[in-house]
């Protein structure tokens, strides 16, 4: 019925050069670290990464940048990873900085079939460059467009074998939003449980959104 478990090879086979990948986590909290390990091992190149922040050169998805596997990153913050700034100055990585609330709404639009959203954030700043500005009831807004990926990598705390996901504490962050906005969704499960063990009200990512479950090798 549900056959979603994959191993290292199964995940590695999904990876290709030039892919666009969303990776959950906030300064590495909630990031699927084993999946990042496997991307490092496979060595795929020229990736576009969509993420809240580029974490650290030695922790979280920031390791992919340190390994020079990323040519483009769409994110809200790069200040904690010296490699991102360095490669940006060199010109070897393209960095699109997006306000955090706008970033999450753009991903949500893609996942929810919405064509865009009007936000007041960024009006009157360089963020508005190249964007359509609209006035609704006297207030100025920017039209922000959907952001989608081929692959979303999600860090789940408790995952049942159907693919229902619970995120503990602040590991939730971008994970459930990204799980809606990619062609293929892989969740790294801190803890795998049987179907029926998760209270149905507590599910944060419903099982049909999850294509593959990988059991974490960390912790």
């Amino acid at each position: 019925m549900f056959h979603k478990l994959i191993d290292r090879k199964g995940f590695s086979d999904l990876l290709k050069d030039d892919m666009t990948i969303m990776i959950g986590g906030f300064l590495a909290c909630g990031t699927p670290e084993t999946l990042v390990d496997i991307i490092l091992e496979k060595g795929v190149k020229n990736l576009t990464i969509i993420c809240n922040d580029t974490a650290f050169a030695d922790k979280g998805l920031g390791r992919l940048i340190a390994a020079r596997q990323v040519s483009h990153v769409i994110t809200s913050h790069i200040g904690t990873n010296v490699e991102t700034g360095k490669q940006m100055v060199e010109g070897s990585i393209k960095v699109d900085l997006v306000p955090q609330g706008t970033l999450v709404e753009r991903i949500r639009c893609a996942g929810a079939g919405l064509g865009g959203v009007l936000t007041p954030t960024g009006v009157g700043t360089i963020v508005e460059e190249g964007k359509q500005k609209m006035t609704v009831e006297g207030v100025d807004y920017l039209l922000e467009l959907p952001l989608r990926a081929e692959l979303a990598l999600i860090g789940g705390s408790i995952v049942d074998k159907a693919g229902n996901v619970v995120y503990n504490a602040t590991t939730r962050n971008f994970n459930p939003i990204m799980a809606m906005a990619a062609d293929t969704v892989v969740v790294e499960a801190q803890k795998l449980v049987e179907i029926g063990e998760i209270q149905p009200e507590l599910v944060m990512t419903p099982s049909p959104l999850v294509n593959h479950i990988f059991v974490s090798e960390k912790r």
Binding site: M1, F2, A112, M180, I195, P200, E201, S207, P208
Partner: protein
């Protein structure tokens, strides 16, 4: 024609039930579409979504096990299966509009050869509202219209809907007790005929232009 309406509805429900693959997420509308759930082939696990906030909806509760907090989009008491979950309406329609639902099955007042559907209003007569139907037909990956071929002798499948639309150019498949049509870029195509009917009978009872598919088949139930 098949005169027994209950038999006709069962034929439609059985045929639609054969469309689904294992683990697909499906939303069934109120009325006729609900019957589809009773005919899912053995070995296939279809996951039912209800737009009021369930994935993994199960059958009606056993007497004595009713829970007033668990209802479907028609307001009826239901159950949730062990792999199921609940969510709010924003999430529910994010799933629907975002193409996460594989099939939506719903009824029609009228459906036309362009794949447009009218199902929510008869101006001046009946104005129930669109509920979630407009989002469902725009958002689901596949839209199946389930309808009796005719109503009081009049065809339900038209050249062009006359009533206000639920959505334009969204229907993928039309299943009646007599036939299965697919809406293709080249127009409406008859792809299956009930073993007790014929292309001529279908032509006589359909107000739309349609082509007969080269590999026309008998409806399997």
């Amino acid at each position: 024609m098949i005169e027994d309406i209950n038999l006709a509805k069962t034929i439609i429900a059985k045929r639609i039930a054969r469309e689904f693959k294992d683990n697909q997420l499906v939303n069934l509308g109120i009325g006729l579409p609900t019957l589809v759930a009773n005919h899912i082939p053995a070995g296939i696990n279809v996951i039912f979504q209800s737009e009021n906030g369930i994935i993994g909806m199960g059958p009606a509760p056993q007497p004595g096990h009713e829970n007033p907090d668990i209802t479907n989009a028609g307001g009826a008491l239901v159950t949730v299966l062990p792999y199921g979950c609940y969510f709010d309406t924003a999430m529910s329609f994010a799933l629907i509009r975002g193409k996460h639902v594989e099939y939506t099955v719903l009824g029609a007042l009228e459906v036309d050869q362009e794949g447009s559907l009218a199902s929510w209003i008869i101006p001046g007569k009946k104005v129930p509202g669109m509920g979630g139907a407009m989002d469902l037909v725009v958002g689901a990956k596949n839209v199946i219209v389930s309808t009796l071929h005719t109503e009081r002798g009049k065809p339900k499948i038209l050249k062009k809907c006359s009533l206000p639309l639920t959505a334009k150019h969204v229907v993928n498949m039309i299943v009646t007790e007599l036939a299965v049509f697919r809406v293709t870029p080249g127009g409406l195509a008859l792809i299956e005929v009930n073993k007790d009917s014929s292309v001529d009978e279908i032509r006589a009872n359909t107000a739309a232009d349609f082509i007969v598919a080269d590999n026309l088949k008998t409806m399997e139930l």
